[in-house]
């Protein structure tokens, strides 16, 4: 299977990346080159194999560790917002959100 320029622009939109003509043109063969080495993967029979989402589950059952329900954070707004592009009245400002 080969990607089309349409695939590239669809994915770029999904990923919120503005691609210049030249970039898209360069990306297409690169992505297709990549997916050509991916092909060998599909040949392997993986029926009945459990996906390995977290490495240690190879040798042991890995269970999610839980937090106790306690408030441990205090107000750090000033510190947390010190690298924010646009803030007013403690709010992050963004171009109008239309629902």
């Amino acid at each position: 299977m080969a990607l089309t320029p349409q695939d590239v622009s669809r994915i770029a939109h999904l990923a919120r990346l503005e691609l210049q003509e030249a970039e898209s043109a360069a990306l297409l063969p690169q992505l297709n080159g990549f997916f050509s080495i991916v092909e060998q993967m599909s040949a392997v029979d993986t029926r009945g194999v459990e996906p390995l989402y977290t490495p240690l589950s190879t040798v042991q059952q890995v269970a999610l560790r839980l937090r106790e329900d306690r408030v441990t954070e205090s107000n750090q707004r000033e510190l947390n917002q010190r690298s924010a592009p646009a803030v007013e009245d403690g709010l992050f400002l963004v171009p109008k959100v239309i629902e």
Binding site: S57, R67, V94
Partner: protein, 482 residues
């Protein structure tokens, strides 16, 4: 079941409810979930998705999900998976929402309720844990929106029903029952104004017997009244479309309470492809049977179980029993009053009648009723022992409600509503009545039973309704018989 059709169409409704869980801290961080703080003062580095931060799951949120699962007879999954739902939106700090996709924590279950006196049962597909988003404030900041992320990361239980409902009324009743249940379980404060309990309603219409039509999802309804209005408008809009030969496009719509109309959301247009995948920051959630057992042991008696008890022990009809378990407060009120007077059915009648009528009118909750359970019990006692008639009791109730007084007997005295129990006095009046109505007496003796009723009527009038009717009957027959 026979479904009411609207303009020849069957309505198909399924609900998705977002229930904010009543934890102290957020689902993946130690920030407070308290409502109404200054913007972004309860948004920690984790909630803001600052680089390098990671989520750690709140045990309290899982515990509440287990509670709900047990309450609706669902399967509490021993293993469930958190997944990332990827999309860009300013109120979604990470660019993905941590939710559950393929394997949710609560699977199946059902919710039962009455519409009128007809019992309905709605199956649940699932209930899963996820994080709430922040808020976009739309008041204008020089043409921009302000983002407050205090709500981001508040734990949500999203409860998804099967498309089992066939009318707006059923949908509203289902939502009310769910709302009552989560409060009953103490897993949600139920505050709909603050968004603690939100309804998304999937609506489609079809000609009977046809496959499901295309559905539109009405998002974020925060009142049962709006739910009814929105469904009503949406149903007719969809039927209009179809009648005009137009196809329904799947869409997410918003309800505008001012216009009473629904309109498609623009922002959701291209969020089709969420690229779900298991969150590598969160290994599988394992819930051991021991944990489920512990939660089960701590569960309050469930409404359905309590309703059954009210039928079996108190002898209430099924409908009354369900009404008495609409909320924990109602149940407590009923049980207290019943203890006080020992007349379950009478208590149920009063609660379903006068009390709820007045409460609804004044939009009060039953635990704020001006007539407390024990006072109602005292009033009912007086009806039972024949001290007052039902009509008199209503007058006393009015006085109690309006705050004219708080002691039942004192009010009966003051209003002179006591039924005449002194038979000497009654005999004297009856003799006068008989003397004054010789004609009727003759007719009665001649075998005209109607005449007897006339005499009773006269007697009641002469006693200004204070006489106990049965006592009047008895005495009259004795005198006439003699």
């Amino acid at each position: 079941m026979t479904n009411k059709l609207v303009r020849g169409y069957e309505i198909v409704i399924g609900l998705e409810n977002h229930v904010q869980l009543s934890t102290q801290s957020k689902i993946f961080s130690g920030s407070s979930t308290a409502f109404g703080a200054e913007p972004n003062t309860q948004a920690s580095a984790v909630d803001l998705a600052l680089p390098g931060t990671l989520p750690v799951l709140n045990r309290g949120a899982v515990e509440r999900a287990i509670r709900f699962g047990l309450a609706v007879g669902a399967k509490v999954a021993p293993l469930s998976i958190f997944a990332r739902k990827n999309y860009f939106y300013p109120d979604l700090p990470k660019g993905y929402q941590i939710s559950q996709f393929e394997i949710p924590v609560v699977q199946g279950g059902k919710v039962e309720f009455f519409v009128g006196d007809k019992k309905h049962s709605v199956n649940l597909t699932r209930a899963h844990l996820e994080e709430d988003a922040g808020k976009s404030l739309h008041e204008d900041y020089h043409g921009q929106s302000g983002i407050d992320l205090n709500r981001a990361g508040t734990p949500l239980l999203e409860i998804v029903s099967e498309p089992d409902m066939r009318s707006g009324a059923e949908a509203a009743e289902y939502a009310k029952t769910l709302h009552a249940l989560v409060m009953w379980l103490g897993i949600c404060d139920g505050n709909m104004q603050e968004g603690s309990f939100r309804c998304d309603v999937n609506v489609s219409v079809r000609k009977p017997g046809e496959p499901y039509g295309t559905r539109r999802e009405i998002k974020n309804l925060n009142s049962f009244r709006y739910l009814l209005q929105a469904v009503d408008y949406e149903v007719n809009w969809q039927i209009d479309q179809l009648e005009d030969g137009l196809a329904i496009q799947q869409a997410t719509v918003l309800f505008n309470p001012d216009t009473g109309e629904t309109r498609a959301m623009r922002s959701k247009e291209d969020s089709a492809d969420y690229r779900y995948f298991p969150d590598p920051d969160l290994p599988p959630l394992m819930i051991a049977p021991e944990w489920v057992e512990r939660v089960k042991a701590e569960m309050p008696e469930l409404p359905a179980v309590m309703a059954q008890r009210f039928q079996d022990v108190d002898g209430l009809p099924a409908y009354d029993a369900t009404m008495m378990t609409q909320s924990l407060a109602t149940a407590r009120f009923y049980e207290a009053a019943r203890e006080g007077c020992g007349a379950p059915k009478l208590v149920a009648n009063w609660v379903m009648g006068e009390i709820s009528r007045r409460l609804n009118a004044e939009e009060r909750a039953i635990d704020a009723s001006p007539v407390p359970a024990m006072t109602l019990a005292a009033l009912i006692k007086r009806i039972q022992d024949g001290t007052i008639s039902n009509n008199a009791a209503k007058q006393v109730f009015e006085a109690l409600w309006s705050g004219e007084g708080s002691d039942v007997d004192a009010l009966i005295e003051a209003k002179g509503l006591k039924q005449m129990s002194d038979s000497g006095e009654l005999e004297r009046i009856l003799d006068e009545v008989l003397a004054a109505n010789a004609k009727s007496v003759e007719e009665y003796r001649a075998g005209k039973d109607k005449a007897f009723n006339a005499l009773v009527g006269q007697a009641m009038k002469a006693t200004k309704g204070k006489a106990n009717p049965s006592a009047v009957n008895e005495l009259l027959r004795k005198k006439l018989g003699g």
